[in-house]
Amino acid sequence: MKTCLLVDDSRVIRKVARRILEDLDYEVAEASDGLEALAWCRAAMPDVILLDWNMPVMNGLDFLRQLRTEPGGDAPRVVFCTVESDPVRIREALNAGACEYIMKPFDGDIIQAKFAEAGLA
């Protein structure tokens, strides 16, 4: 079973996204900010990371940049899932190593379509 680390500071979003990801046959772990996500990754790199941008402690972009410097940190496919929809921000995320990008609000169809786009579903 593939693993997905779900990183979002909203418990509600995590609950909704977890259900969608489990329907896509992912084993899901959760983190509520970038630092907690890094701890998860250092313990075991997930296959995929669904990543919010704006979070306390460490935001999604800083997390992604840090992740890519970690041993094995180039492996996980990272899909941003955020309210940020400015094309400049989207380019920043892609340049930092994200492979896809979801603009909130999202639903199951969008996550499924985006994961398919990235070869993840």
Binding site: S85, D86, P87, I90, R91, L94, E100, Y101, I102, M103, F106, D109, I110, A113, K114, A116, E117
Partner: protein, 275 residues
Amino acid sequence: MTPDDIQLIVALCKTRAGLSIDPAKTYMIESRLGPLARREGYESVSGLIAGLRARREEPLIWALVEAMTLNETCFFRDRTPFNLFRDEILPTLSRMRGPEPIRVWSAGCATGQEAYSLAMIAEAGKDIEAHARVEIYGSDISERCLEKAQSGLYNQFEVQRGLPIRMLIDHFEKVEDSWRLSPRIRQRVRWRRLNLAADLTNVGRFDVIFCRNVISELDDAIRARVLEGLAAALPADGFLVLGEGESPLGTTDAYRPISGRDGLFARNPAFRIAA
């Protein structure tokens, strides 16, 4: 709605556009006609039908038929046909046509995402197939759909279904809460209102016809006529691309399948185009 109302709707859709509507699906009929009823100032679909009986106006009849068409679409829907277009159809035709234009028709294009997906592929391929000139045409029966297609303006939900994020930022600009396709891609597509169930004799010649998830909505008798009309528009080395699970085989002998390629057909050499 009364059974008579439903019968009238079913009959209008069949005679005007060849659409096959299941009279048992009253919920579907209500949900498709509800917005039209409200736009026309009626309180209900029953009111709209009563108004239509009283006014007998052609624009209202056509608005009803248009509202009953299924406009479900998205960018790069089902992906595989677009990969085939990019990796096989376009390179093959490009070699055969040389500097002659390759004409591609998105028949029943709804709000335009299919035609624009093809346009984005053609734009990306222009460096590889430098001499190829790809002309893309989109047609639909619905004026409202074509207006949206021409605007090239899509909401956030629409641009997140099927469209890779890199294509979004390469080809769209953000306009408030929506996204507008660049003029470069918009200018690649020409639009035309066309009823596929009407006479297709003068539509012109097309090297590739995408007609996906359209024929399955048509009445059996009309389906054969539409498929033969499309075959007549295809050259012998052209391609017809149908939707998942759709096939002309068994309906008409105008086509032969292309081996190993689901949904891809060529004109049957034995098919005689009616004079």
